[in-house]
Structure formats: C-alpha cells, structure tokens
C-alpha cells in the first residue's frame, strides 16, 4: 500500500484506517493489529502536531514475514529517535506526560529507522510478523 495524503488537516483517523485496512495489515492477528494501530497513531500524531508538513506519504510493505511501515513528510527536520526516553520509574508527582508515543513504538516494534533525505523526514517501523 502506498498513498499520499495532502492536505492532512483533520485526517488522523483516515490515515490510520488506510493502514489498518491495507492488504498487508488487515489479515494480521488482533494482537499485532493493536500494536500497529497504536504505533501508527503515535507517529502520525507527532508528524501532524510538530512537523508543519503539508503532506504525508505512507507506504506499507510485507516481505518475507517482515512488515515495514514507512512515513515521509516535508516538515522541519526532526529525529524522534534522538529524544531521551521518558523516566518510566518516576513517581506519580514527577511523572511527565510527554515523550510516551515514540517510546511505545520502540517497545512494540522490532526496529525504528530515521533519515532526513532531500528535505524530507523518513521514518520506518519494522516488525517481524511471521
């Protein structure tokens, strides 16, 4: 599945459903679908809120039991993997609300990759599914 969304305002749910109903994802088991939905939402939300991009290109591939979900946008360069992880042992009083999204993706996917190429953020989530 490959699709470009432009403009992107108000299309959060549509973007997620496009991934979830794609041939590559629709037949996966419930547990995997839960994780994929969650991680796609977290990445998409980061892009929509912070990058300032006018479009997002999404590509989902499945090859030899490996699922790859690739996001591309032309927003400001931002490497989400460079951020420190949240302190998950912090007490209730000190617990911060931010930074959870990418941390969840790190835990639930097998590998995350980020590059900045030709003025675009390229972010890929990789998950073994077989």
């Amino acid at each position: 599945m490959k699709k470009r969304f432009e403009p992107i305002e108000g299309r959060n749910a549509e973007i997620i459903e496009t991934v979830m109903t794609s041939d590559e994802v629709a037949q996966l088991n419930e547990e995997l679908q839960f994780k994929i939905r969650l991680c796609v939402e977290e990445v998409e939300e980061n892009i929509l809120c912070y990058s300032g991009t006018q479009w997002i290109e999404l590509e989902v591939t499945r090859d030899n039991g490996v699922l790859r979900i690739h996001f591309k946008d032309e927003g400001i360069a931002f490497d989400p993997l460079a951020k420190d992880d949240p302190d998950i042992d912090a007490s209730l009083e000190n617990r911060q609300v931010g930074g959870l999204g990418i941390f969840i993706c790190k835990q639930m996917m097998d590998k995350l990759e980020y590059t900045y190429e030709h003025g675009c953020n390229c972010f890929t989530m990789i998950k073994q599914i077989d």
């Binding site: 959060n12 419930e30 969650l38 977290e42 939300e45 998950i88 042992d89 007490s91 941390f103």
Partner: protein, 100 residues
C-alpha cells in the same frame, strides 16, 4: 469512546466503552470531569469494554490519577484487556495507577 458514570456503594463507577485516541481525548477529558468533583474522589474505571488507548489516553489517566491523589482520593482500573495492560506495563503506568 463512551463514558457511562454511575454511583455504586459510595463509589463513582465509570464504564469506558470503545477506543480512546487523539480524535476523542478532549471529549473524554470533559466526560470524566464529574469524577473529580468530590472532595475525596473514590473512582472505579471499569475497562471491560475499553478496546484501545493511545498515549493521549494515558495522559488523561495520568491527569486523573494526579487529581485524585491530590485530593486524597482513590482510583482503580478494573478488567483491563491484556493488550491495554501491556501498554500500561511498558510505560510504567501500572506502577503509578492501581490496576485490578
């Protein structure tokens, strides 16, 4: 996400139904406001029918727990599905929010 609030034996019980995500987190925040109005809130969040939460939802639960604790109240989440429990576990939320 639908929230149905009832009073049971001096506790506020909120049934959470459906998915909690970025599209409805603000509405959810409004829906749970009545839970925080008591002097010492005593809250049960029944998660039997909660299908999903993103980090936006976690923020809401953290905010709710902070408010309840600041008012010397109590809050417990019950009947959480394993997939959601895993999200609470990996983010450390199950150490600061009571889950039964």
């Amino acid at each position: 996400m639908e929230v149905i609030i009832s009073q049971e034996n001096g506790q506020m019980v909120a049934r959470l139904i459906g998915r909690l995500d970025t599209t409805n987190a603000t509405q959810f925040q409004n829906d749970i406001t009545p839970l925080m109005e008591a002097e010492h809130p005593n809250i049960v969040l029944d998660c039997t029918d909660m299908e999903y939460t993103s980090s936006q939802g976690l923020r809401m639960f953290l905010m709710l727990q902070k408010t309840v604790s600041s008012k010397a109240g109590s809050m417990v989440m019950t009947h959480m599905r394993p997939a959601i429990r895993e999200v609470f576990d990996i983010t450390g939320f199950s150490k600061i929010i009571q889950i039964e």
